[in-house]
């Protein structure tokens, strides 16, 4: 299933009747369409492909033909959902999202709950909550009040999403990541489902395998009664996915069955967004999961053993850096998940250190226990204290700063440039400093047993690398890579 190649020029339903590739309709629409083809429940949707925005008018509007097609496709959504766009009671509401060929996280706009009707006195708390959310988005993203007419809301939202392709920051992002200007972005219009509808609703994310530890088990979060952006924004506290298994076992089972299907179809670990509305499961997105270096090693070997990918693919999916990271001391990924990050700076001296943060170098020299030395910036006279510190943290400075140079020599974990006032704010607290990532956590965070070269997964990768045909000069083993 690679999708077609012919340009798509019309506003098109994503109903799985045709296979579309990311080049034609953007990554988001192609993924929704593919989930539908797999028979998964996906809220009905249609796409305005990038070609439509390429044919925009001189005033930056869509051609009349496109608006007519949008109206027709909204009609299709109405038929498939049994709701009417613009109705005053229980109307069809839609989300409007961008979807370029290559994902540009955080660069493009998304507008949810489009189509909230004009205010009426007898409306429910649910509709009132949706209107509040829509107002917030219009205020924040479009900087205008919400138009009372739902069709005008849809028009504003679509134009906004297309125009966000041309904002300076989106252009800068494309320059930086060498993303071509053509094809531009698509816009996806999808019927809303509501995780905040009732007690049997909620929203969550599921990783088909644990992206932190690399375990085979799925990992996820579940937010009862929440809407999608509540999870992403961290506005509400999520429950572990096991909570869903207990409260709605049949939904959980359906979710897990689908996750196996999606992983098999994409041949890689997936990060799946889903919503449950009144007990019914809906899939909103799937993409290849970001993961820790250890998880990249473990997942690649496991998937090759399961026959999901070839051994050569497994080798390609592990970077030399992953192995180096795996072999050095690191924090326990499960402990990190539960830990609170209190500061972040530039990683400047490798290693991990835990202790009470002190801003006074003489204090740390004279007490027996190792302390974390925090200084706005280090001075020559701080060197004796630095040599005795569990870690060093500074407010100012980069990787060439005195603290960074000295700590690398002394093999003391170091994080620099955490920002004005950071060390003063942390004085007296026990902190854990990760000199590999630049993160500083509250309290003592447990470390993981360091990976070893005789780890079965590394040994397997090494053996597979040995059997692979090589070009001259290529290192023989992955361990030496």
């Amino acid at each position: 299933m690679t999708g077609g190649n012919d340009p798509v020029t019309e506003v098109s339903n994503l109903d799985g009747r045709r296979d579309y590739g990311p080049d034609q309709v953007g990554g988001k629409a192609a993924s929704l369409n593919r989930m539908t083809m797999l028979g998964l429940p996906v809220p009905p949707a249609f796409v305005l492909p990038p070609t439509i925005w390429e044919h925009r008018t001189v005033t930056g509007d869509l051609p009349t033909q496109a608006w007519n097609e949008v109206a027709d496709r909204v009609g299709d959504l109405e038929a498939r959902t049994g709701r009417r766009f613009g109705d005053t009671s229980d109307p069809l509401l839609v989300s409007v999202r961008s979807g370029a060929r290559t994902s540009m996280p955080g660069m493009m706009d998304t507008i949810l709950n489009v189509g909230v009707p004009e205010e009426i006195p007898s409306e429910s708390d649910f509709v009132r909550d949706l209107r509040r959310r829509l107002r917030e988005q219009f205020d924040r993203i479009l900087d205008t009040p919400v138009p009372p007419d739902p069709w005008e809301q849809l028009r504003c939202a679509l134009l906004r999403v297309f125009r966000s392709w041309d904002t300076p920051r989106a252009r800068a992002y494309r320059d930086l990541h060498r993303i071509p200007e053509s094809p531009g972005t698509a816009a996806v219009v999808q019927a809303m489902v509501f995780g905040n509808r009732d007690r049997n609703s909620g929203t969550g994310v599921l990783f088909t395998r644990d992206p932190h530890t690399g375990h085979r088990d799925p990992y996820g979060e579940w937010l009862p009664g929440g809407q999608g952006e509540d999870v992403v924004s961290g506005r509400m506290d999520a429950e572990p996915i096991a909570h869903l298994a207990t409260t709605a076992p049949e939904v959980y089972e359906e979710l897990i069955a689908a996750s196996v299907l999606l992983e098999r179809s994409h041949r890689d670990v997936q990060d799946i967004e889903f919503t449950v509305e009144s007990g019914r499961l809906w899939f909103l997105q799937t993409r290849t999961a970001a993961r820790s270096p250890e998880a990249r090693i473990r997942h690649a070997v496991a998937m090759a053993r399961e026959g999901l990918i070839t051994r050569a693919e497994a080798l390609d999916r592990v970077r030399p850096d992953d192995i180096a990271t795996f072999l050095r001391p690191r924090l326990d990924p499960v402990a990190v998940r539960a830990a609170t990050r209190v500061a972040r700076g530039l990683p400047a001296g490798p290693g991990i250190g835990t202790g009470t943060l002190t801003c006074d170098p003489s204090e740390s020299t004279e007490s027996g226990e190792l302390a974390v030395l925090g200084r706005p910036t280090t001075a020559p006279e701080d060197v004796p204290a630095m040599s005795r510190a569990a870690a060093v943290v500074t407010d100012h400075g980069g990787v060439t700063s005195h603290a960074a140079v000295v700590c690398r020599e002394l093999a003391v974990p170091c994080v620099v440039g955490c920002g004005d006032g950071t060390v003063a704010a942390l004085a007296g607290r026990i902190v854990t400093v990760d000199g590999y990532t630049g993160e500083i956590y509250d309290g003592a965070v447990a470390t993981a047993p360091r990976g070893t070269r005789d780890d079965p997964d590394l040994v397997a990768l090494d053996a597979w690398a040995d059997l692979r045909p090589r070009t001259a000069g290529e290192p023989r083993t992955v361990l030496r890579g």
């Binding site: 706005p376 280090t378 001075a379 060197v383 060439t400 140079v405 690398r408």
Partner: protein, 204 residues
């Protein structure tokens, strides 16, 4: 022979040096330094500790007075001009030292590539040579800083002799150690503080 301000300032910059590293830094004969230090201890300006000699609060106050006195008679506009000129070699030295420690700014240099190391050390020698003119101007304005000429030269000589600890080891008078102390001296001489300079991105 070292003056009181030179010894007190060295004690401050070194934190708690022992006598032999004081001899190395100041370049005075041991016997001479012994008696000067005894005098400073008798006046409660410094005190011996298990880690080395340390300034007392009295010593810090005395040093601050001496530095204020020095600033009162120094040529501010020329010193400020020198400090502005220091920016460029300072950035260059810090970059060289970092490249010595890290390859591509991220991977620790395991010194397995002699060609890479040779290029970095060659840059260090060139930056040092170019800096000499400015250092002479600085010493003309603040004569007690003359020892930095010898100390930087000593570090370079050890490096060229193949002892690479003299590039950046913080526990000896390596090039980076001496450079950073000199930077601290300049900040003091122009009457600024390290905090201001760090916030301005110049001295961290």
């Amino acid at each position: 022979m070292s003056t009181e301000i030179m010894i007190l300032q060295t004690l401050r910059l070194k934190g708690s040096p022992d006598l032999s590293s004081l001899v190395e830094t100041l370049g005075d004969p041991r016997a001479e330094l012994d008696s000067t230090v005894e005098d400073l201890i008798a006046r409660s300006l410094c005190t011996p500790t298990p880690g080395g000699l340390r300034l007392t609060p009295n010593g810090h106050a005395r040093l601050a007075d001496l530095l204020t006195e020095e600033r009162a008679t120094s040529d501010h506009s020329r010193l400020n001009e020198c400090y502005a000129r220091f920016d460029k070699p300072n950035l260059a030295v810090k970059k060289v030292i970092t490249d010595w420690q890290l390859v591509d700014g991220s991977r620790p240099n395991d010194h397995s590539d002699p060609a890479y190391d040779a290029v970095v050390l060659d840059r260090l020698v060139r930056v040092d040579a170019e800096f000499r003119e400015l250092l002479d101007d600085i010493v003309e304005l603040v004569p007690r800083l003359r020892r930095y000429r010898d100390r930087l030269a000593t570090a370079v000589r050890h490096v060229l002799d193949g002892d690479h600890r003299w590039v950046s080891s913080p526990l000896i008078d390596s090039y980076h150690t001496v450079w950073f102390e000199l930077h601290e001296e300049l900040i003091t001489a122009v009457g600024r503080t390290r905090g201001d300079e760090a916030a301005a991105g110049r001295a961290s």
